[in-house]
C-alpha cells in the first residue's frame, strides 16, 4: 500500500473510533442549583471543608442526593482527589478535603438526584496567591 493509503486508513479508523466513543456524561438537571462553599475562604493550602448546597429552581433544598467530587489540578500528571459527599440535611452536603498545593483546581461534582437524574457541574477555584 502506498503511504498515502496508510494515512487515509489511519484517519478513517480514528474517525470511526470517535463516532463510537461514549459521549461525556451530561447534566440531566440543568434547572437545579448547586452552590459551592469552601471553608476557609479564600482557599489556602491545608485542611478544608467543601459544602455543596443543592436546591431546586424554586429554592427548595434537595435531600437524599448522592454526590461525589473529583478535584483535579490543571496540569497533566497530577493525581485527582476523589471524595463522596456526606448529606447534612437542608440540602447541604459536606466534603472534608485538603488542598495540597497552591494553584488552579477544577472541581467536578457528579451525582444522582432522588428522582434518578444525573447531575454534573464543574467549578474552577484558585488556591493561594492572586493567580493568572
Amino acid at each position: 500500500m502506498r503511504p498515502a493509503s496508510h494515512l487515509l486508513l489511519l484517519a478513517l479508523l480514528l474517525a470511526t473510533a470517535a463516532c463510537t466513543r461514549r459521549s461525556p456524561r451530561a447534566d440531566q438537571a440543568p434547572e437545579v442549583d448547586l452552590l459551592l462553599e469552601v471553608e476557609p475562604s479564600p482557599p489556602a493550602v491545608g485542611q478544608a471543608v467543601l459544602y455543596l448546597i443543592l436546591t431546586s429552581s424554586d429554592g427548595i433544598p434537595i435531600e437524599g442526593a448522592e454526590l461525589s467530587v473529583r478535584v483535579d489540578m490543571t496540569h497533566a500528571g497530577m493525581q485527582p482527589v476523589l471524595r463522596d459527599a456526606v448529606h447534612l440535611g437542608e440540602g447541604r452536603y459536606q466534603v472534608p478535603f485538603e488542598w495540597t498545593m497552591n494553584g488552579n483546581w477544577i472541581l467536578t461534582v457528579e451525582g444522582t438526584l432522588p428522582d434518578g437524574r444525573k447531575l454534573l457541574r464543574t467549578f474552577a477555584l484558585s488556591v493561594g496567591g492572586s493567580g493568572r
Binding site: 490543571t74 500528571g77 493525581q79 496567591g129
Partner: protein, 486 residues
C-alpha cells in the same frame, strides 16, 4: 548523486578513530534488531500510534489535562522519557520520530531537491522555534489543554511534511524542529555515538554509502559523514549509515558522556554556542513558570502595562530570560574570557565562546532532568487510569470496571526534591569539570587558563543557585485555560 553531494563525501578532516570498546550494533539480539532494515520504521510506527492517540484523545476526550492521554503522554511521559533516554542511551526520540514518517510521501512530491537557503542553514531558526514553543506553552497553557496539545502535534506533522517536500538535507530535523534542537544538544552528553570501526576501510571505500546511500537504504539524512563524525550534534540516530555501509564498518559505540562537553573542539559558531546557553536559561525559566514569584511578577507586569492578558508580560519575560540574559552571558563571557586569556582581535570572543559554552550542556542537562524528572516521577503512573478511562469510553472493560485514580507516583514523594538537587549539582559539577579540562588543554600557563574561565564559572554558579532556589520553592500550577483569563 549530485556534484554538490560528491563534494561533501570527500573527507576534509582527519578520520576520527578512537579505541572501540564494543559495538551495540553487534550485541546479541539487539544488534540484529537495530541493523534490520525496517527496525526504525517499526519504532516510528509505534510512536505514530502514540501521536495518533494524542490527536484523537485531544480532540474527542475530556478537556481536563490530568484525565486526557494527550496531555499526560505529551507533557509527562514524552518529556520524562526523552531526558532519561538522552542520559542513558542517546537520541532515541529522533530515532523513532513519527513526524518524519510522511517524509516518504513528501519526497515523492519533492519539487527540485533544493537546499534550504544558506541564511537559514544554522541553528537560529530552531532557537526561535524553541523560544516560541516555550512562550506558547506558558501563554496558552498547553500543559492544561488536551485540544491545543493535539493541535501542536498536528502542526508538527504539517511543518515537517511541508519542509521535507520542498527541501533536501532533512531541514525540519536539522534546522527547525525545537524538539530536535533540544535532543541534538543534550545528545552531545549521551553515552553512545556513531563512529567508524576501522578508518582504513573508510579510506578505501569508493561509494561512501553511509552518506550517499545504497540501493536499498538511504544515506544520512542530515548529511553527516561517519568517518569524520566526532559529535552527536545533528545525528538523529536513524542508523541508516550502519545499514547502508557495505562493509559493516559503522558502530554504535560507548564513550564518556563528557567527551564533547570537556574535550571536543566545537565549530566556532555563535548560533551553536547560543543554542547551548539559551537552552540552559530556557530550563531555568520553564521551571520558574511554576513557582509563586513568577505569578507575582506577571501580576506586576500586567498592572504596569495596563493589560489583562498574559501574552505580552510572558513574551517580555521570555525575551529577557532566553534572549537577553543568555546573550549577556555568552557574548560577555566570551569577550571577558578572551581578554583574561590575553587574546584580542577579530573573532577572539567567538573562539572563546565556542571553547567554553559547551560546558553549559551538562548544566542545562541537570536542570532539565530535575524538572522533567519531577513531572515524570510524580505523575508517571497516571497514564494507567487515563487509558483505563479511555477504554471504558469505548465500551472496553477488560482493563478494569473503574479507572484506578490512586495510581500516580513513580517515586516516593520525599525522594523527589533530593533527586532534583542531585541532578542540578551533578550538572554543575560536570560543567565545572568540563570548563577546567578545556582550560587546561590550552597551551598557556594553568593559572592563566583558569583565569579565563572565571566568567563562565561565575555564570554557572549563579545559574545553579537560581535553579536550586526554584526547585526548593513550593510549586503552584496555574492554568488560565479553565479560569477564562488569556
Amino acid at each position: 548523486m549530485t556534484d554538490s553531494k560528491t563534494r561533501l563525501v570527500e573527507p576534509r578532516q582527519a578520520l576520527y578513530h578512537p579505541p572501540l570498546r564494543f559495538d551495540v550494533l553487534h550485541l546479541p539480539l539487539l544488534g540484529p534488531l537495530l541493523r534490520w532494515r525496517w527496525s526504525r520504521l517499526v519504532f516510528q510506527l509505534a510512536l505514530l500510534a502514540v501521536a495518533a492517540l494524542i490527536v484523537y484523545d485531544g480532540f474527542s476526550g475530556p478537556q481536563l489535562a490530568p484525565a486526557n492521554s494527550a496531555t499526560v503522554l505529551a507533557w509527562v511521559h514524552y518529556r520524562g522519557l526523552v531526558i532519561l533516554a538522552l542520559l542513558l542511551v542517546g537520541n532515541l526520540f529522533c530515532f523513532a520520530c513519527p513526524f518524519t514518517l510522511p517524509r516518504t510521501l513528501a519526497r515523492k512530491l519533492s519539487i527540485s531537491g533544493r537546499r534550504l537557503p544558506s541564511a537559514l542553514r544554522n541553528k537560529w531558526v530552531s532557537i526561535a522555534a524553541l523560544m516560541s514553543i516555550f512562550w506558547l506553552y506558558e501563554w496558552l497553557d498547553l500543559w492544561a489543554s488536551p485540544l491545543l496539545t493535539a493541535w501542536v502535534a498536528l502542526a508538527y506533522f504539517l511543518v515537517a511534511f511541508t519542509l521535507e517536500a520542498i527541501f533536501t538535507e532533512s531541514p525540519f530535523c536539522k534546522y527547525v524542529c525545537p524538539l530536535g534542537a533540544f535532543n541534538f544538544v543534550y545528545s552531545t552528553a549521551s553515552p553512545l555515538q556513531i563512529r567508524a570501526v576501522e578508518a582504513s576501510v573508510c579510506r578505501s571505500c569508493k561509494g561512501k554509502e553511509c552518506i550517499n546511500g545504497s540501493e536499498t537504504v538511504l544515506g544520512c539524512g542530515t548529511e553527516l559523514f561517519v568517518p569524520t563524525l566526532r559529535s552527536n550534534m545533528d545525528c538523529v540516530f536513524c542508523l541508516d549509515c550502519a545499514r547502508a555501509c557495505p562493509y559493516d564498518n559503522v558502530a554504535l559505540a560507548p564513550r564518556s558522556p563528557l567527551t564533547e562537553a570537556s574535550e571536543r573542539r566545537w565549530p566556532a559558531r555563535w548560533d551553536l554556542a547560543f543554542l547551548i546557553v539559551s537552552l540552559t536559561f530556557m530550563g531555568l525559566l520553564n521551571a520558574f513558570g511554576m513557582v509563586p514569584p513568577v505569578y507575582t511578577l506577571l501580576d506586576k507586569m500586567r498592572a504596569a502595562l495596563g493589560l489583562h492578558s498574559d501574552a505580552w508580560p510572558l513574551l517580555l519575560t521570555y525575551v529577557f530570560g532566553t534572549l537577553l540574559l543568555p546573550s549577556v552571558v555568552l557574548f560577555g563571557s566570551g569577550w571577558l574570557s578572551a581578554r583574561l586569556g590575553l587574546q584580542r582581535g577579530r573573532g577572539a570572543a567567538r573562539r572563546f565562546a565556542a571553547r567554553y559554552a559547551p560546558a553549559f550542556v551538562p548544566m542545562g542537562f541537570g536542570i532539565w532532568l530535575a524538572h522533567y524528572g519531577f513531572h515524570f516521577a510524580i505523575g508517571g503512573l497516571t497514564i494507567v487510569p487515563v487509558l483505563q478511562s479511555l477504554a471504558l469510553d469505548h465500551g472496553i472493560g477488560q482493563f478494569g470496571a473503574q479507572p484506578n485514580w490512586e495510581l500516580s507516583y513513580l517515586l516516593p514523594a520525599d525522594w523527589i526534591l533530593p533527586f532534583q538537587v542531585f541532578a542540578v549539582l551533578l550538572g554543575f559539577a560536570a560543567a565545572l569539570y568540563s570548563l577546567g579540562r578545556r582550560a587546561l588543554k590550552r597551551d598557556v600557563e594553568p593559572a592563566r587558563a583558569l583565569l579565563e574561565i572565571l566568567p563562565w564559572a561565575l555564570a554557572l554558579t549563579l545559574i545553579t543557585i537560581a535553579s536550586l532556589s526554584i526547585f526548593n520553592l513550593p510549586m503552584e500550577m496555574r492554568g488560565t485555560s479553565q479560569m477564562g483569563n488569556r
